[in-house]
């Protein structure tokens, strides 16, 4: 039974990937991509990668999908997705080459060792010393904490890049366009009812991350989604990017992470090491500090460059 489900999932994934690539209409391609992300999340569940499934659903499919939808609607809704692919006589060789590369890759994957060498036993053996029970969190915030810190900084760099696209008169202003909707319409209603629930769920996903699948990235995505919902319904307006509180909140997470890292130098003998007995509290403190920063960064990345002045 499960084999059948997995097979079906694999076929569906391939079909959706092909549909997304071949779709003539940009909007259709984006919808295909979002559905593909959702199915991919299911595939990760089947592979017991719940953390990855959550991330894929939240960021890979949800946030990226929204970003693409935004972009597609900014261009032309019915724009021809395959319009600029260039000379058609180069298509066949390009397709053949792609197939050749894919084929070679497939052969290589099959050539991977039957029982792949993995660090999972290593992680499990050292899990106790990190005081958290979710091995993914242990990897992300203890064994390879540097990578997580740097990823948080990557997001900030991306935000600097997005902001730098604003026109000079609007620099420092509010990102995106002011949204209006019927004050008693269904969108405003949703934006009033859903956020409290969403915030609770987001906080729960964040909190449970230390011991079970979940964590700051997935939680932050949910919180950012709730924020964007409120903005989309016109119940609130995006803050001007010159606001000091906004900028401090953006960098507070990574700075706190670095501070805890240097604290480890004093107390545990290495940068990004945690003193025994305080590992879990410190990890949670880092995640708690990163949560608002990530929420803001993800939301602001979606809102885009400042498009208007400071006035609401």
């Amino acid at each position: 039974m499960m084999t059948f489900v997995n097979l079906l999932l694999a076929v569906l994934l391939l079909a959706l990937a092909a549909w997304t690539t071949l779709a003539r209409n940009m909007f259709a391609a984006v919808v295909g991509f979002i559905a593909y992300g959702a199915l991919l999340a299911l595939a990760w569940v089947q592979l017991s990668g719940i953390d990855i499934a959550l991330t894929e659903a939240a960021i890979g499919s949800g946030l990226t999908g929204l970003l693409l939808l935004n972009a597609a609607s900014r261009l032309h809704v019915n724009a021809n997705a395959g319009g600029n692919t260039g000379r058609s006589r180069l298509r066949v060789p390009a397709a053949l080459l792609s197939a050749a590369v894919s084929g070679a890759l497939m052969l290589c994957v099959f050539a991977l060792p039957e029982t792949p060498p993995t660090l999972a036993p290593d992680v499990a053996a050292n899990l106790a010393s990190t005081e958290v029970r979710n091995p993914i969190t242990a990897v992300l915030l203890a064994f390879r904490a540097m990578d997580t810190l740097l990823e948080a900084i990557v997001l900030l760099f991306a935000l600097i890049g997005v902001w730098s696209l604003s026109s000079d008169p609007h620099w420092g202003g509010r990102p995106g366009l002011r949204q209006y909707s019927e004050p008693n319409g269904i969108l405003a209603y949703t934006a009033r009812v859903l956020p409290p629930i969403g915030i609770v769920v987001g906080a729960y996903i964040f909190w449970t991350g230390a011991d079970y699948p979940g964590g700051k990235f997935q939680g932050a995505t949910l919180l950012a989604a709730m924020w964007l919902l409120v903005l989309m319904a016109g119940l609130a307006d995006a803050p001007p990017i010159r606001r000091t509180w906004l900028r401090v909140a953006l960098v507070a997470g990574p700075l706190a992470f670095i501070a805890v890292g240097f604290l480890g130098l004093q107390t545990a003998g290495a940068f990004l090491a945690y003193p025994e007995g305080f590992v879990k509290p410190l990890i949670i403190a880092i995640e708690l500090a990163l949560l608002p920063s990530l929420t803001l960064v993800l939301g602001l990345l979606l809102l885009g460059a400042p498009l208007r002045g400071e006035e609401p």
Binding site: G185, I186, L187, T190, V193, L194
Partner: protein, 70 residues
């Protein structure tokens, strides 16, 4: 085609979505090990009902506005 336009398709879709998912959840509730798990499943269903209803409203409204424009 049985459902020629967006509105009729939405109409059909919401039935399948809400009721079908409700039945799936009902089946899972019977299998759930604890009351808490059962309640969580019901919460999931309720949330999906809410979002499904809102989204189909929005799609329908959008369609009507686009059709009313020449």
């Amino acid at each position: 085609m049985r459902f020629p336009d967006t509105l009729t398709r939405l109409h059909a879709l919401t039935k399948a979505d809400n009721l079908g998912l409700g039945l799936v959840v009902l089946g899972l509730v019977l299998q759930a090990g604890s009351v808490a798990a059962a309640l969580k499943l019901i919460c999931v269903w309720l949330l999906l009902l809410l979002s499904g209803a809102c989204v189909s409203q929005l799609i329908a409204r959008n369609t009507r506005e686009r059709e009313s424009r020449p």
